[in-house]
């Protein structure tokens, strides 16, 4: 099992209110699986994704990635584990604005302590794979939205993670670019990876093998997606 969430709960509290963002969620994703989580805004989708990615410690329940509990690790060990095992793709791309495409793609390599030449080799390969050869030395501001998201995808895959967590990756893309990104995610899953996609995009469900609808922090329904066919 690549990702296993058991009865995970996360509550946000402040002086005036308490919000149960995720409540008693259990979820397993195996190698080769592409799972899409849908739901209305504020239903806890992003919280679930961050919790699964070792970025947000749950109040209750356990999280295991590749049979390891990231929250049992020290912050630095967890960061290194994240760098080696999990890839992230975000709606806002979150590329470092002053680094070129190639440097952005290479950045996770610094965290994973890989050799520079190896990182560069992989980054060159990924930029080629995602059609960014001509854009390698451009900064994000010079790229189109689709190119930025492809650069973010390439960055997420640099350390060859098994698990890819994507938060609304198609939210800022046109139809054609969104389709390309979803195809890339499917391809990643098909190559013994696992994808947990959080989205509003109905098209994404068509690529997933399993669809989960989250409502008020709880799993409302689970369905088999078109991608399973």
């Amino acid at each position: 099992m690549l990702l296993q969430l058991d009865s995970v709960s996360k509550t946000y509290k402040d002086a005036h209110s308490t919000v149960h963002a995720v409540e008693d969620v259990s979820l397993q994703i195996s190698e080769g699986e592409f799972v899409a989580v849908q739901g209305p805004s504020g239903c806890g989708k992003s919280t679930l994704l961050l919790t699964a990615g070792g970025l947000l410690k749950p109040d209750a329940g356990s999280v295991k990635v590749n049979d390891q509990d990231p929250y049992a690790m020290t912050p630095d060990a967890r960061a290194e584990f994240r760098a080696q095992s999990i890839g992230f793709v975000f709606q806002q791309f979150h590329l470092v604005p002053y680094l070129s495409v190639l440097e952005n793609v290479m950045a996770p390599g610094m965290a994973a302590k890989s050799s520079i030449s190896e990182i560069r080799e992989r980054a060159l390969h990924l930029t080629e794979r995602f059609g960014l050869v001509d854009r390698r030395h451009h900064v994000p501001a010079k790229l189109s939205s689709g190119e930025r998201q492809r650069a973010a995808m390439a960055r997420a895959l640099l350390n060859q993670p098994k698990l890819l967590l994507a938060d609304e990756p198609t939210g800022n893309l046109d139809h054609q670019n969104a389709e390309t990104v979803l195809n890339d995610l499917s391809e990643f899953a098909a190559n013994n990876g696992a994808v947990l996609l959080v989205t509003h995009d109905e098209r994404a469900v068509a690529h997933a093998q399993r669809g989960i609808i989250l409502q008020d922090g709880k799993i409302a329904t689970t369905s088999i997606g078109s991608g399973a066919e």
């Binding site: 961050l50 290194e80 975000f90 979150h94 470092v96 002053y98 440097e103 965290a111």
Partner: protein, 450 residues
């Protein structure tokens, strides 16, 4: 990709923030180096000025000394000339010689001629030019007139001294030297033959008018005079010339002569020449005292200059001791605020780097690398600016101070060598807290807000 590359890319992206940091460090280092250079320039200029002043004063004093010395030599020479011009001014007389009789009738008492030899062979220093003589008012029967007859054998050299040119030449036997009134009345010329007390003499010298008893005096050889006067081996007086000594001369002379010749007395013939000599002596004393005053005033001037320079140096040092720490603190605060601002600007970037696996240590390194670059750039620029500032304000060029002199002091070398290190340490300290804040940033919060 390396941490350095990341820092350099960020600097290129946010040039203004980097520039502000560099300016802040440059200002602090420039203040430190400038103050040190200025203080060092002050010291060097002070040393130079004081050396020049000292040299000027020494030259002035040396010139004055030379003038006084010259005046001394001139005085001595003048004294000698005066004394010489004065003629014999010390009379060594037999103790029985009454002063009243001396003035009224001339010399009446006598003493052995050997006294002069005794005196000449002694170690006497207070008189020169010893001249034994007999002197008597006598009738010149051949011309029926009264004259003063002086018999002299010539000067007796004082043995322990070098030979001196005699003041008065010996009158040879058979020769006669004649005073003005006499040779004028008798219409005598050099070479004329005259008879005195039935003895023949040839006129050898005719004295010009002197306005003294010399005008009615004739001089002949001592032996002949003693024979004429019936005073064989006796003399009336030893004439001498006192030395050019300062102070109470006559007491010294009396003391010395009475020790050698106990049966004698010493009479000094006071004159205008002596008064002039004394006046010159006073003038010498005055010149010496003026020299001493010149030396004192030079010292005082030097001391004054030293105090003024020290005061200026202290003022500069005091100003620097307040300004430099203030600017350093200001710089640290500015860098801290800039780094804090930078942390806020980079929230998203730091969040994403943390999310993709950057450790807190790596985030701190990214910030500290930038701080180090700011420190190095600011430190080097600060050294150049500060040195230029100190150089210009300290008047290094205008005072002709050379580099070597300026860098003789270890403190300036040390400051310049350590300034970049200090700048890096200061920026590191100022950036440390913002770097920690950045490293502790929760990536989840950033990603959620995005």
């Amino acid at each position: 990709m390396t941490v350095w590359k990341l820092a350099l890319r960020e600097i290129r992206h946010r040039k203004f923030s980097f520039l502000m940091g560099v300016i802040s460090v440059t200002t602090a280092v420039a203040c430190l180096v400038g103050a040190q250079t200025l203080l060092r320039a002050d010291r060097v200029i002070t040393e130079q000025l004081l050396t020049e002043k000292q040299s000027e004063i020494e030259h002035a004093v040396a010139a004055k000394e030379e003038a006084v010395k010259q005046a001394g030599v001139e005085l001595e020479d003048a004294m000698r000339k005066h004394m010489k011009g004065l003629g014999f001014n010390v009379l060594i007389l037999p103790i029985e010689q009454s002063r009243s009789e001396l003035l009224l009738k001339g010399m009446t008492a006598s003493m052995p001629e050997s006294y002069v030899d005794k005196l000449a062979s002694s170690k006497i220093v207070s008189v020169n030019h010893l001249l034994p003589s007999v002197s008597r008012r006598v009738q010149w029967p051949e011309h029926d007139r009264e004259v003063i007859l002086i018999g002299t054998r010539g000067e007796v050299p004082i043995l322990h001294r070098g030979l001196k040119k005699p003041l008065l030449e010996e009158v040879a036997e058979g020769k006669i030297v004649v005073g003005y009134e006499i040779h004028k009345d008798l219409k005598l010329k050099v070479g004329d033959k005259v008879t005195f007390k039935e003895r023949k003499f040839t006129v050898s010298v005719l004295h010009p008018e002197r306005g003294s008893t010399d005008d009615v005096t004739i001089w002949i050889n001592l032996g002949q005079a003693q024979e004429i006067l019936g005073m064989q081996n006796l003399i009336n007086a030893i004439l001498a010339l006192e030395c050019g000594c300062t102070g109470d001369r006559i007491s010294v002379i009396r003391e010395e002569i009475s020790a050698i010749l106990p049966g004698t007395q010493v009479v000094e013939k006071y004159s205008e020449a002596l008064a002039r000599a004394e006046a010159r002596e006073k003038a010498k004393e005055s010149a010496e005292s003026s020299l001493a005053r010149e030396q004192e005033s030079g010292e005082a001037l030097l001391q004054q200059e030293k105090q003024a320079r020290n005061q200026l140096e202290q003022q500069h040092a005091g100003f620097a001791s307040v300004l430099v720490p203030l600017v350093l603190i200001g710089s640290v605060v500015t860098i801290f605020l800039l780094a804090l601002m930078n942390t806020r600007q980079r929230t998203e970037e730091i969040g994403i780097l943390r999310a993709i696996g950057f450790k807190s240590k790596q985030i701190i390194l990214v910030f500290l690398s930038k701080a180090m670059l700011i420190g190095i750039a600011g430190g080097l620029a600060g050294i150049a600016l500060g040195f230029w500032f100190g150089w210009s304000l300290g008047g290094v060029a205008s005072n002709g101070i050379d580099w070597e002199k300026l860098f003789e002091a270890d403190s300036l070398k040390f400051t310049i060598a350590m300034a970049p290190v200090l700048a890096v340490v200061l920026t590191g300290i100022a950036s440390w807290l913002p770097a920690l804040i950045a490293a502790r940033q929760d990536p989840a919060l950033v990603l959620q807000s995005g």
